[in-house]
């Protein structure tokens, strides 16, 4: 085990990895204990702290050019649990720590505690669970042990599901229940795969497993079960049925977090599974299956988005489509173009996170100001609330994949990789998806920018519009990511190491 020991030599600053998990977890407990207005205060106060942790972790990885490792309790794997951060973990941490405060600032209006400090249901639940989502996502991005990651998945489910039905309308309850059922199915199948891997190799540590894994029946079955479970949680077609009602019915701030970040959590684990745990498996066939499902998601999700009558449902169906793009990186994961494909997939995850959060917050402002979010009734609304619609439109730019936007950068990289790999079909799907996205956004923006200004029930508050706009601008700015950013993403990526050897 000399080789194993070197994998767990504590890296300098490794103890930092525990903090983005433990601090929001402590925030959850304190918020629930103190109740009332304290939950909001604690949640908002910890957000900049979380951003600090994320930046510190990223800069340590950048400076050393190596993944950060931390062993908990002094019990090295396989007996104990290690935390690990590579370039991909770090950018996801930073993204999360930027979108969370945006959602938090936006939500202050909707989830304020009354002035007398009396505790109310929705605010306490919202602010407590928002921190729980933060803790769960941090653990997903940093976890180095497959069972520990199962606990993270469950944390995420318990934090996210109640947010869907926070306003208690019957259709939100049905949506939350269906979401919970899919999530439970996903977690159990993931866990079953974990059991098989432990039975085969006696460890669940990602690095130790990756060294021992061979293509054998138990591993194939485990990979299939875990992938199926995670796909249900990520809502990849055809397991997407739960997502549109859940994301469309949640309060806007929650929708932004659920659609922008939470589905990326289980996607992140699929990437971990195939790239970090199972690089030894021949991945041509599974990669092609994932990409075929992704393609179906792009086409079906976009087509369904075109037919929606409500803005929030349209945006939710566009999430179904945009999730599809994430899976186009898998068949391109080996070969000289693999770094491009990986960067493209990660870029899609980041730009969709910012763009979709911006769009859900904008849609929330529109619904509040007009009193409805029927697309047929949006005529002229863009003139009444230009900043809101600017945020919506800039977010849409990323979805379509038009320059300048992170979405463009992502789709460009993926398209280049698929053409270099000679797998043209994915490029064609991406083009079709872009056109369809243009179609559904046109349905919203064209009437909104023409016609008479409608009477607003109440104009949106400028600060909340600015939050949505800032997120949309972040999605645009990703287009200007320098080459060093892409080099950073490669830190700790096993395939990159294999190519160098």
């Amino acid at each position: 085990m000399t080789e194993g020991a070197s994998a767990f030599a504590a890296t300098a600053g490794g103890s930092l990895l525990a903090l983005p998990i433990l601090v929001p977890a402590a925030g959850v407990l304190l918020s629930f204990l103190l109740g009332g207005r304290q939950a909001e205060r604690i949640a908002l106060a910890l957000m900049p702290v979380q951003f600090g942790f994320a930046v510190a972790i990223a800069s340590l990885i950048w400076r050393s050019g190596q993944p950060l490792v931390y062993v908990l309790g002094g019990y090295a794997p396989p007996l104990g649990i290690a935390l690990r951060a590579d370039g991909f973990s770090a950018v996801m941490l930073v993204t999360t720590s930027l979108i969370m405060p945006a959602a938090g600032l936006y939500a202050r209006t909707n989830f304020a505690t009354p002035n007398d400090g009396t505790e109310r249901r929705a605010p306490l639940v919202f602010w407590t669970l928002l921190q729980a989502i933060q803790a769960a996502l941090s653990l997903i991005f940093l976890g180095g042990d497959l069972f520990n990651l199962y606990v993270a998945l469950e944390l995420l489910t318990f934090a996210a599901a109640p947010l869907v039905c926070l306003d208690g309308r019957p259709e939100t309850l049905a949506a939350a229940l269906r979401y919970l059922m899919f999530a439970l199915f996903g977690a159990l199948f993931y866990l079953l795969g974990v059991a098989l891997l432990y039975g085969a190799y006696g460890t669940l540590d990602i690095v130790l497993l990756s060294r021992q894994i061979r293509a054998e029946p138990a591993v194939w079955l485990a990979a299939g079960l875990m992938t199926a479970g995670l796909l249900a949680k990520t809502a990849l077609f055809p397991l997407h049925l739960w997502l549109p009602p859940a994301h469309a019915n949640a309060p806007a701030a929650a929708s932004a977090v659920l659609s922008g970040l939470v589905v990326k959590g289980s996607f992140f684990l699929i990437v971990r599974l195939w790239f970090n745990v199972l690089p030894a498996l021949p991945n041509a066939v599974p990669g092609a299956i994932l990409a075929a499902l992704g393609s179906a998601a792009i086409l079906a999700g976009s087509a369904l988005a075109l037919r929606q009558e409500r803005l929030k449902l349209l945006i939710a169906y566009s999430t179904v489509a945009q999730i599809g793009y994430l899976f186009l990186m898998f068949p391109l994961a080996s070969g000289p173009w693999s770094a491009e494909a990986f960067s493209g997939g990660v870029m899609q995850a980041l730009s969709h996170a910012f763009a979709k959060a911006a769009m859900f917050l904008s849609a929330g402002l529109i619904a509040e100001s007009l009193g409805h979010d029927r697309i047929a009734g949006l005529g002229g609304a863009g003139r009444a609330m230009p900043v809101t619609f600017l945020a919506l439109g800039l977010g849409g730019l990323s979805l379509m994949g038009l320059p300048p936007s992170g979405g463009f950068a992502a789709k460009w990289l993926l398209m280049k990789a698929s053409i270099e790999a000679g797998q043209w079909v994915w490029a064609v799907v991406m083009l079709a998806g872009g056109l369809l996205a243009g179609g559904y956004l046109y349905r919203v923006l064209a009437p909104a920018l023409s016609g008479n200004r409608p009477r607003l029930k109440s104009p949106p508050r400028r600060s909340r519009e600015n939050v949505a706009l800032a997120l949309a601008l972040a999605a645009v700015l990703l287009a200007f990511a320098p080459p060093t950013f892409f080099a950073f993403l490669q830190i700790g990526r096993p395939a990159a190491g294999a190519a160098l050897r």
């Binding site: 433990l22 959850v28 908990l72 639940v125 729980a132 318990f158 039975g199």
Partner: protein
Amino acid sequence: MSVLQALDVGLAFLVFAVAAWTVFAPGPFAATVGYVVYGLLLSLVWIRLFAVDVALTEAAIGSGVTGVLLIGAAARLRGAETTPAEEALTGLTRLFAAGLCLLVAAALAAVVLLLPDQGPTLAPQSMERLPETGLGNPVTAVLIAFRSFDTMLEKVVLVLGVVGVWSLAADRYWGGAPGEARAERPEPTLAFFAQVLAPIGILVGVHVFWVGADEPGGAFQGGAILAAMWMIVMMARLTEAPQASAFWLRLALIAGPAVFLAAGVAGAVVAGGFFAYPPGLAKPLILFIETFMTFTIAVTLPMLVAGPPRREPRR
């Protein structure tokens, strides 16, 4: 075939038959009762696997507390669960579903049969590092020392469970108590039953927790038994559930994970790493953490079963 083997095969068939009953039973109530029986049979299987800690947990939580939860739900849903025709799956879909499930089960069974008789194991490493913890029960050592991070986070999951269940209260009941009020005159048989059982159960629960350091048992199992006793007393309506806004209740619900988390952070200061125990102090610290965890489990499980607040809060 020896007697024990014959018993094993019989038990396996029985477990499968009762499980099939819970899926195919005509009514939800009958299915739920089947599930409780199933849970008890399952704990026998666990004993046959020489996993007594798991058997205790399965009997107490998997069968006992879950059973109370599901039977209560089935009773409240009685009459409501008639299936509207449009929801029933067509014959073809059913056939397809059955095929898929058979495929999954068959693949799983094949892999189970392929597992070597002597598989990879962490038993030697666990035993090697057991003395550092001062404990005698390696399962407890895994839970509270080697993989304490899992256990602490799983306690946070329980807190989130309570937040999630309470979030389903109507706004006007927020902060109020779940369940029914204390009865003026409790039903005598049930009350007698509760009065006799509760003190014995509490002793058993504390004992199971206490011996868990060295023998099968521990915080989960002991806490679950204590939880069951509180549930019996509440069901007999000798006492009522506390208000959701009560500070002591919130404190009780978070005490386990909070103490665990605090000890984990303290480890970074005094023992050189998060969730590390200072040498020599491990056992007392572990027992300290487990005491709070037992208490929190004993309070959390009944609150999860009681459901969201259903009465207006008293000020």
